[in-house]
Symmetry: D2
């Protein structure tokens, strides 16, 4: 991702750091055939799957589990309450995508992620996800709960701090 | 989508007109297993597939094709430039969803659809899609084009007017 | 699926009984855009989703639940141990598919379903699924269990008998 | 796929050659959330997506395109005529899968791939795909065509030979 391009796009002059994102992560993936449609391009839904996987990769990189099973049997996870995506240009089967995901905001129970997709430096899409920490009980309503301080610290860790967290290979 | 509008809708059992939607359509579908995830609920991405199918059903109901192949070989369709969804409550495998989709706005090249999902009268999700009429050429950039007056008329047809359009079974 | 059987079916316009299928069900669905790929046709994976949904519809039609939660908290379902599909011709976005699913065999713990897909009378695909009744325990191995006689009776009910089973709307 | 063969492979740490596979490729991927279902495990359909991506990776590794557009405008690809998968044990969100794909047979117009999935050395699934080289024409029937000798040579290249093929990054 060219910082210049990102700055131009925001018109406010904001690249990765200027976005005031807290923790962030870069990743890359190739467009698979399952993600295309009969218009010959990537189906718009695929970006939501990719955002979710990038979010999970970001969590793993700071030693967090997407699902936490506590000793008392309770289970916590992060369902979405709001998602959106704006599309700039099409990508096709086999294209490699550069994905940049960052934590744009953290509230008492929610985390807002922003995600930028590029192909060979060309803007492709920008997405946004608001996930809420919830107590998950089979058959019951999802119950939002406060995000523990340790998790806030990990999600907003700088690159340097992040290296201190023991990444965990579990899901 | 204003909460007030949603409130009105729930209170009155109507709301469709109060939204000042132009053309609209009600449909219903059952949650399939493919749309669930390991959290035991419907994956957030499924609502985008359902919105797309509801949009296509709305188009078919007024005799429009999702893909138009013209005699000169040119092809037109409606890629998305922006989509979003807000989630109110979870639904599960086997639940039946009531889906209400309407045309919220039409610009020179774009149509904005809004979509409301309910389960047994309970608010589940609200989505929004901006689709742009484009000339599709294999291997080329998608080129936005103006929406012909006949298509505008069909998309914004009232229920009474809609019955006059010869629905077309083709895709 | 033996070619002979398929031949019989095509020649006679019947075949359902000649297959010696036990319970069976006809259903119909339209190809959605999500099920297409960049080759312009339906992605081969879609038939597995459709078979699964047809299987669930067959179960519901005889009052069976896909997931059974018993009073003691145990849960039973039907994971697949083997699936296959043979493709005869392509289908495209918007096409309507006629789907015929039947119970080809029932063993102590397994049910074998066969599924035939047609479009306007043209053979499209034939699939086969072997599902095994399992006790599902979170975090544990799936444990195959015998199929109760009542469930065998429902799955193999003739059309006449099926009408006596109280269909259940739950999933 | 015979259990003996799988046993040999596990015991010897080899097996690839004992299967008499021609070209083969090992790859690895992590189970993404989109691939799970409400039973808490990977949905059976996911293995078909993974097989397809492994097949494409194998093709790329020997410099082949999944879609070939020739100078005269004709386009060739590899639709499936038959696929199957047998499931040995469940995998879950976050698990890493070892995937081994090989060319089991090549006919005049078809290639048969076999694919073995493992998690930490435990057998998970075995799949089989028969793909046919076809001339793809929009709106027309797919037309099977003979596989050129150069493509046969690349698909059946040994590891040593494969290094001589100029891998191509295009799709």
């Amino acid at each position: 991702m060219k910082r210049e391009a990102a700055g131009d796009r925001d018109a406010s002059g904001g690249g990765e750091s200027q976005r005031a994102w807290k923790g962030s992560l870069k990743t890359r993936r190739r467009v698979e055939f399952r993600d295309t449609d009969a218009a010959g391009i990537v189906h718009f839904s695929a970006f939501f799957f990719w955002m979710e996987s990038a979010e999970h990769e970001l969590m793993r990189s700071v030693g967090l589990h997407v699902f936490e099973r506590h000793l008392d049997g309770s289970e916590y996870s992060w369902p979405r309450v709001s998602v959106s995506c704006d599309y700039r240009s099409a990508v096709r089967f086999g294209d490699e995508l550069d994905i940049l995901i960052g934590v744009a905001a953290i509230g008492r129970t929610s985390v807002t992620y922003e995600c930028v997709f590029e192909h060979n430096g060309r803007a492709v899409a920008e997405g946004r996800v608001v996930a809420v920490r919830c107590l998950m009980r089979p058959g019951s309503k999802l119950e939002p709960v406060g995000i523990p301080a340790d998790i806030v610290a990990r999600l907003t860790a700088s690159d340097a701090e992040r290296k201190q967290h023991q990444p965990d290979s579990a899901s």
